[in-house]
């Protein structure tokens, strides 16, 4: 099976995982959900690292890669930290 088809298999099956996992998220946490998915979509940093770090990459590719790494890192750090900050605020009623 060619690689592109394997990728398609992975993609379609992942869509199903996404469907079931996300329906389980409680509506109260929908804002943290958006922030967390923001953070994990920072996974494009992997692509950015591969472009930037390639041996003998041309300087224009390196510059593109640098900015991609920068933007994706903002997502990763900003996303996870702000999610953490929000989740820390959700507290149970102590009186109950």
């Amino acid at each position: 099976m060619p690689d592109t088809l394997v990728a398609l298999y992975v993609f379609v099956l992942s869509c199903f995982i996404g469907y079931w996992v996300i329906w389980g998220v409680t509506p109260a946490l929908h804002t943290p959900l958006v922030a967390l998915t923001n953070a994990i979509s920072g996974i494009v940093i992997v692509g950015a690292l591969l472009v930037t770090g390639l041996e003998g990459a041309g300087s224009s590719a390196e510059i593109m890669g640098f900015f991609a790494v920068l933007l994706a890192s903002i997502n990763v750090f900003g996303g996870f930290l702000v999610t953490n900050r929000m989740l820390a605020m959700f507290k149970k009623d102590k009186k109950k």
């Binding site: 592109t4 990728a7 992975v10 993609f11 992942s14 869509c15 995982i17 996404g18 469907y19 996992v21 996300i22 329906w23 409680t26 509506p27 109260a28 946490l29 929908h30 804002t31 943290p32 922030a35 967390l36 998915t37 923001n38 994990i40 979509s41 996974i43 494009v44 992997v46 692509g47 690292l49 591969l50 472009v51 930037t52 770090g53 990459a57 041309g58 590719a61 593109m64 890669g65 991609a68 790494v69 920068l70 933007l71 994706a72 890192s73 903002i74 997502n75 750090f77 900003g78 996303g79 996870f80 930290l81 702000v82 929000m86 989740l87 605020m89 959700f90 507290k91 149970k92 009623d93």
Partner: protein, 466 residues
């Protein structure tokens, strides 16, 4: 140490599983923080495995980029006000989109230099660039609307949809042409047009539909990551991108359902404007046969109540009234009054916005209930207090088939014995629809800034003694 590509692939798999656990954690507030740590671990593992792989050989730009990104990201995350979360999220979505575009172009340059271009790869690159570019400019426009840099009113002109369709087709055509021929001019023009589509797609959507826009762009940012995964042949990016893409799509669906509108209607409909600020609220109210009440009246009813249900909306966020509400809640609870909060799915500017603001004010999440959980309780509530919400309690949605919001599920505040509406003016909600609840026998309006009004109630409750 250099990881073999097989070890790297295993590490990516573990990372993908950690991300799934991270999202699974959000099933309940009690497990959510642990979930977030799983997410961080997954990301750290993915980055480490990539850096240690054979493909990454030079580190200068990488270290500089990650360091700068870490500083900026941390500052943003620590400083952002909870009311400004929608803006932060829009900004972060735009970054993912732009990063995806840059990765695709960088990949093209690298592959071209190595002589490894082929039509399938170039087709995937086109997809990555188009989705990334739309995500980028769309999110920039959303950010501008949320931040008030550009008007939240929908921008519409005749022939708009036809124009969008033409630009869309042209962009796709250029993408196909690029994939077949590798023509640089096609690539450049395609990228440019994709940036334009992001703008033209978002400007006709009104400010009231922000929760849908945010969810939609969330979805796009996922698809952009997935497309990048296809170009790089990286399964981790494909898995994560698909899950995030679905997350945003499901949220869009939930938001649309809560407004009884289809996604098509939101994307092309564009209702809601900023027009119609009220002049003399009290006078207008009297003219329309609406009762207005003083703060003391509302307090009189609330302090002897058994149950008070508070319905927050975007107005609460604007007035920053959540902390005052928490104080009022405690004073009422000290008098044995049961206080609950009722949240409509589209209250606020993004999904779950109200829950975060109430959590910020230290209001326990078990007192905050979703629409389906609380609607049966209004009939037994003595007071429903509406703080900066409007359309989500409008009975016209149930009773008036000619109303634009007919069919939208609402919070049934009108069933409480007394309804108090905190309002700045008589201006209608974002839908521009008059609220029938105002004219109901048991409803009174309390005019003023929500925060000032609640603080007035707090003072009256402290004064005590009727």
């Amino acid at each position: 140490m250099e990881l073999s590509s097989n070890t790297q692939a295993i590490a990516y798999l573990v990372s993908a599983v950690l991300f799934i656990f991270a999202l699974k954690g959000l099933t309940h507030p009690a497990s959510a923080r642990k979930g977030n740590y799983y997410g961080m671990a997954g990301m750290a593992l993915a980055i480490a495995a990539t850096l240690m792989g054979a493909e990454v050989q030079s580190y200068g730009f990488i270290i500089a980029g990650v360091a700068a990104g870490a500083v900026i990201g941390t500052i943003l995350a620590m400083r952002v006000e909870m009311t400004a979360m929608p803006q932060l999220v829009a900004a972060l979505h735009s970054f993912v989109g732009l990063a995806a575009v840059l990765v695709a172009i960088g990949t093209y340059l690298n592959k071209a230099a190595a002589g490894q271009l082929n039509p399938v790869l170039m087709g995937e690159l086109s997809a990555g660039i188009i989705i990334g570019a739309i995500t980028f400019t769309g999110s920039v426009i959303a950010f501008g609307k949320l931040q008030g840099l550009i008007s939240g009113a929908p921008v519409k002109f005749s022939g708009q949809h036809l124009l969008n369709a033409l630009i869309g087709l042209l962009t796709l055509g250029l993408g196909v042409h690029f994939a077949m021929t590798g023509n640089m001019a096609s690539l450049a023009l395609m990228t440019l047009l994709a940036f334009v589509i992001g703008v033209t797609l978002i400007i006709p959507i009104g400010g009231a539909d922000m929760p849908v826009i945010i969810s939609m762009l969330n979805s796009y940012s996922g698809w952009a990551a997935a497309a990048t995964g296809f170009t790089l042949g990286n399964n981790l990016l494909i898995i994560v991108g698909a899950i995030v893409g679905f997350s945003g799509a499901i949220l869009s669906y939930i938001m649309c359902r809560a407004m009884n509108r289809s996604i098509i209607n939101v994307v092309f409909g564009g209702f809601g404007s900023d027009a119609g600020a009220g002049e003399s609220a009290g006078a207008q109210a009297a003219e329309k046969g609406v009762k207005s009440a003083a703060v003391e009246d509302a307090v009189y009813w609330m302090e002897d109540a058994n149950k008070v249900i508070i319905i927050p909306g975007y107005g609460m966020a604007v007035a920053q009234a959540q902390h005052a509400l928490k104080e009022m809640m405690e004073l009422l609870e000290a008098r044995e009054v049961e206080v609950k909060f009722a949240i409509h799915p589209v209250a606020g500017r993004m999904p779950g916005h109200m829950n975060v603001l109430l959590a910020e004010a230290d209001i326990p999440y078990d007192n905050v209930l979703e629409m389906d959980e609380i609607n049966s309780e209004f009939a037994t509530a003595d007071v429903a207090l509406v703080v900066g919400a409007n359309d989500v309690v409008n009975p016209a949605a149930k009773s008036d088939p000619s109303s634009p919001i007919y069919g939208m599920p609402i919070l049934e505040a009108g069933k409480a014995r007394q309804v108090y509406f905190l309002k700045r003016s008589m201006r209608p909600g974002y839908s521009g629809v008059n609220n029938l609840l105002f004219y109901q026998e048991n409803t009174s309006l309390v005019f003023g800034d929500a925060k000032d009004t609640i603080e007035g109630m707090v003072t009256a409750l402290k004064g005590g003694g009727h």
